[in-house]
């Protein structure tokens, strides 16, 4: 099957620092790809580079056969990419409703938003409904995280880039989110997911790429990694049994 997104030898600099040292990454269409790695491995930087928030100094980012390496962020978004940043990027002055309205690019007013989809989201994250008109800044940490994800899925998109969605979420909600991603996948949405929570990753991922020090050091199928304890501990330092 074809790759929706391909990174070839991507180097990224932030100011004086050289962060990514040639990232090669394939994201197969319609699948969920897990991007794992230690703190500081460069996962977030990779996502930001794809989104055009940092620009690659070398290498290419190709989306659906089109080179988007140097494209401005809004254009990349328009070609069907949604992004959930690590810091969630909530507009805290705006209400939850207004946050969603902005995320629904197609909608001029709330009435234009596809209600069934909205109901679906409310089903996944009941808090969204409950605090619909609250200032988003007042939400709890987890609720902010839910809002961030909700914004990314309020309209159908080709590719979702999601940075650590599970952090701060209660297990129940994590279950809902896993369910949600399954449904999205079923609807042919491609997902690139950065995750620390391996249990979460294990349940969802089709393919997996592990980063270290600005490079992809391993990529393959999730099943394979999940099966191989030694590989896990080597790549992710997953040692203490406490975490299985």
């Amino acid at each position: 099957m074809s790759n929706l997104l391909t990174l070839k030898g991507v180097h990224t600099h932030i100011g004086a620092y050289h962060i990514l040292h040639g990232v090669d990454l394939d994201v197969p269409a319609g699948q969920l790809t897990m991007l794992l790695g230690r703190n500081g491995a460069g996962k977030t930087t990779t996502l930001r580079t794809i989104m055009g928030l940092w620009h690659a100094s070398q290498g290419t980012v190709v989306l659906d056969g089109e080179d988007i390496t140097q494209k401005p962020t809004p254009d990349i978004a328009h070609s069907g990419v949604a992004y959930v940043p690590e810091s969630m990027g909530i507009f805290s002055d705006l209400s939850v409703r207004e946050n969603m309205l902005l995320a629904a690019r197609g909608a001029r007013t709330l009435d234009d938003i596809d209600t069934t989809r909205l109901e679906w989201i409310f089903g996944l994250f009941p808090a969204m409904k409950k605090f619909w008109t609250h200032p988003a800044g007042k939400l709890s940490g987890g609720q902010k995280q839910m809002l961030a994800v909700s914004r990314a899925i309020v309209e159908p998109r080709k590719l979702l880039l999601i940075d650590e969605p599970s952090k701060g979420l209660a297990p129940a909600i994590i279950q809902n989110m896993i369910e949600a991603f399954r449904q999205l996948k079923a609807a042919q949405t491609t997902i690139l997911l950065v995750e620390q929570n391996f249990n979460f990753a294990r349940q969802l991922g089709d393919t997996v790429a592990v980063m270290d020090d600005g490079r992809v050091v391993h990529s393959g199928s999730m099943a394979e990694l999940a099966a191989d304890e030694s590989m896990q501990s080597r790549l992710l330092g997953l040692s203490l049994g406490a975490h299985q």
């Binding site: 500081g40 977030t44 690590e86 701060g168 129940a172 620390q196 992710l236």
Partner: protein, 253 residues
């Protein structure tokens, strides 16, 4: 010891924390669990004085501290780390910690001493960085740290403050699996010297199971369960409302 009596706060119509009465003994680690939006962080905010209670009181060693503001309570020994990382972004990692050390030493209002003369503070700061495995990043700007390291720094600052009560709000969220142990060990050490009261908000049940001597459950702002880990986790409210055997539960509120 720390105690809250009928601690309550309303935001508009919404009751975020509802008459929570609970006492926390030194030397014990109490885990606070509950669905998102249950009121855990708010409970911390109320204890550490970031927000004022609508009703009820907070008592430290029998003294009512409800009237004090956040700074006073911090000085009184109520220390907390934040859920959403909250640092001094444009200062170096070392500076971040040093400020906490200095607060501990109460040297803040000294206008004439040259800062760098206080070797003791510097040394202490470096010890802490050592402890949270950030020693090599001491001169980096806090804002440039990757998320996980920022979480570590968050914890480090709390350590440097050496309070009597430690409040950790999801210290390991977004921390890579191999880093988690570092923090957990820190917390274990705190437990080891029997004088500290430790409150831990955490969604990772395995961590909770492993560390806590006691678990209390908040749900829609109310304290709905309290007891030793095994029984509490087994209790239906946790199984349903929290672990989400049946998520709908949350909507009903």
């Amino acid at each position: 010891m720390l105690e809250t009596r009928d601690l309550t706060v309303r935001f508009g119509g919404h009751v975020a924390v509802n008459a929570v009465s609970c006492a926390f003994e030194p030397g014990t680690l109490t885990a606070i669990v509950g669905p998102n939006g249950a009121g855990k962080t708010t409970y911390f905010n109320l204890i550490s004085g970031q927000i004022r209670a609508s009703a009820g009181s907070v008592r430290l060693n029998g003294v009512d501290v409800s009237s004090l503001g956040a700074p006073a309570r911090a000085q009184a020994g109520l220390g907390r780390a934040f859920q959403l990382t909250n640092l001094f972004p444009n200062l170096t990692v070392r500076e971040n910690v040093r400020l906490a050390v200095q607060a501990r030493a109460g040297a803040g209002l000294n206008l004439w001493r040259i800062w760098s003369d206080r070797r003791d503070l510097v040394v202490r700061a470096d010890e802490v960085l050592e402890a949270v495995a950030l020693a090599d990043k001491g001169d980096a700007f806090a804002s440039s740290l990757p998320h996980g390291d920022q979480r570590k720094l968050e914890v480090g600052i709390l350590m440097a403050l050496e309070p009597q009560v430690f409040m950790f709000d999801e210290p390991t969220a977004g921390m890579s699996v191999d880093e988690v142990p570092v923090i957990l060990n820190l917390i274990r050490q705190l437990k080891a010297d029997k004088t500290k009261t430790i409150l831990l908000v955490e969604h990772k049940m395995d961590v909770v199971r492993e560390l806590s001597d006691r678990i209390i459950v908040l749900h829609n702002g109310e304290l709905v369960a309290d007891g030793d880990p095994a029984t509490v986790i087994a209790s239906p409210v946790v199984q349903q409302a929290y672990l989400g055997i049946n998520p709908e539960e949350e909507v009903s509120a």
